[in-house]
């Protein structure tokens, strides 16, 4: 299923089940693919629309269960260990261009001249509401062992300023899928170019959900209540 043509054919099959000429054109398909992919990403990370006042919990959230971890782990990028950690220059760490959401941040220090080994320090993510209170704290101000960050426009502010690198695990943006095809001018037959296409950045299991998202949008476009009900049922029940 993890091929754009198979997905296209599947959607065509569902859309055209009444055989009344309802059709999804390849141009519309290309328009809907990245939106559906991002919508699915949003649902997998967490849906703020499902939050209740004072209870920021959605039905599904990042790494809440193993199936979510399996889906989302392909977007994980780890900067650290054997790879190059994220550089911090004068307390600023520029976010990678493909950054989407943070997963975790850590740093390493060598307290007391290294006599007590490496100290692994989780880096605490603060919001602006907490930032200056922690900077001025007499009990737990930012330190090499207990660093803090806050997110700014395209960078993170990291304190204390002595920190030069951090281990940064983040979720990258999903690739933008692209269904490349040609149309024969005489027969109007569509020819799919798999090699030039960019496939969906998801597991096969997730492609089923993405198909449902596309189907419900197509249903809205075609004003088909029947198709909409079917697409919503798949989204609600999962199968």
């Amino acid at each position: 299923m993890n091929d754009l043509l198979v997905l296209y054919n599947y959607i065509e099959y569902i859309v055209n089940k009444a055989q009344r000429g309802l059709k999804l054109g390849p141009k519309q398909y290309n328009l809907l693919l990245p939106i559906a992919s991002f919508e699915h990403f949003k649902k997998k990370y967490n849906l703020p629309e499902q939050f209740q006042p004072g209870m920021p919990f959605s039905q599904e959230a990042y790494e809440i269960v193993q199936s979510n971890i399996d889906s989302m782990s392909r977007f994980k990028v780890f900067m650290g260990g054997d790879d190059i950690p994220l550089a911090v220059v004068n307390g600023k760490a520029t976010l990678p261009a493909d950054y989407m959401h943070v997963s975790n941040i850590g740093s390493f220090s060598y307290p007391e001249g290294g006599s007590q080994g490496v100290h692994v320090n989780p880096v605490e993510i603060l919001n602006d509401n907490l930032w200056y209170n922690r900077l001025g704290s007499s009990i737990n101000p930012p330190s090499i062992e207990y660093p803090v960050v806050r997110f700014m426009n395209n960078y993170m502010e990291v304190l204390p300023i002595d920190i030069k690198t951090i281990d940064f695990t983040y979720l990258r943006k999903p690739n933008t899928p692209n269904f490349v095809y040609t149309v024969d001018p005489t027969t109007f037959e569509l020819t799919y170019n798999q090699a030039a296409s960019t496939q969906l950045d998801w597991d096969e299991i997730d492609v089923i959900d993405i198909a449902s998202i596309i189907l419900s949008k197509v249903a809205e476009n075609l004003r088909s209540q029947e198709l909409l009900a079917y697409a919503e049922k798949i989204k609600r029940d999962g199968i």
Binding site: P53, P111, E112, Q116, E124, I125, D128, L130, I139, N140
Partner: protein, 204 residues
């Protein structure tokens, strides 16, 4: 158990088993350290009052504490290298003496007794260095530079121990520590953190 393990155990206990990065912020190790410090000092004082002899395990040795001359006061003095547990009769200062000769210790003198001792003949014939505790400093009225630096055996507060220093608890009081810390932290547990940046200190 060392200090880092004790703090982590309290953190695990507070967070219900697993310490996530969010919980790490709410039950910050440095804040927990202060709570444990309150409980630890209270248990040590209780133990000392029951039996003053059982304090050897809780001491930390500071082998080279240097002293300097205070021109204003005309006396040598050292800064205490750590904050001490407030035991009765300055019992938290177990020993102050020369760096190498452990059989020889300086004589503790109470801060207000100088005028009295100064008038006694014993003060003229006895050359044992004396020390007087004044807040966070120790003054030496009759010490010579030959003793610099000095050795101190102290009973410091919990936060003065290093991460990997073994922490001894008064006999049978290990679990009592958790009880006291839990009691102190009740308000932390029942009050959810207000993370909404909305100029409203109340929870939504």
């Amino acid at each position: 158990m060392n200090k880092a393990q004790l703090i982590e155990l309290v953190q695990i206990n507070c967070s219900g088993g697993r310490v996530s990065k969010d919980v790490h912020g709410k039950y910050h190790p440095l804040v927990l350290e202060r709570y444990i410090e309150l409980a630890y000092s209270s248990l040590l004082v209780g133990s000392y009052e029951k039996n003053p002899k059982n304090i050897d395990l809780y001491q930390k040795v500071y082998p080279s504490v240097s002293f300097t001359f205070d021109k204003t006061r005309g006396m040598h003095y050292s800064e205490l290298p750590a904050k001490l547990v407030e035991l009765p009769n300055q019992a938290a200062i177990v020993h102050v003496g020369p760096q190498k000769d452990h059989n020889y210790g300086f004589a503790p003198v109470s801060s207000g007794s100088g005028p009295i001792f100064g008038e006694l003949e014993v003060n003229l014939i006895d050359d044992v260095p004396e020390y007087i505790v004044e807040g966070t400093n120790i003054y030496y009225p009759n010490i010579t530079d030959d003793y610099n630096p000095v050795l101190m055996k102290l009973i410091p507060v919990f936060s003065a121990f290093g991460r990997l220093d073994t922490i001894y608890m008064p006999k049978g009081q290990d679990t009592a520590l958790f009880g006291i810390v839990n009691q102190l932290m009740q308000s932390l547990k029942i009050t959810p953190e207000d993370l909404n940046n909305d100029n409203n200190s109340k929870q939504v």
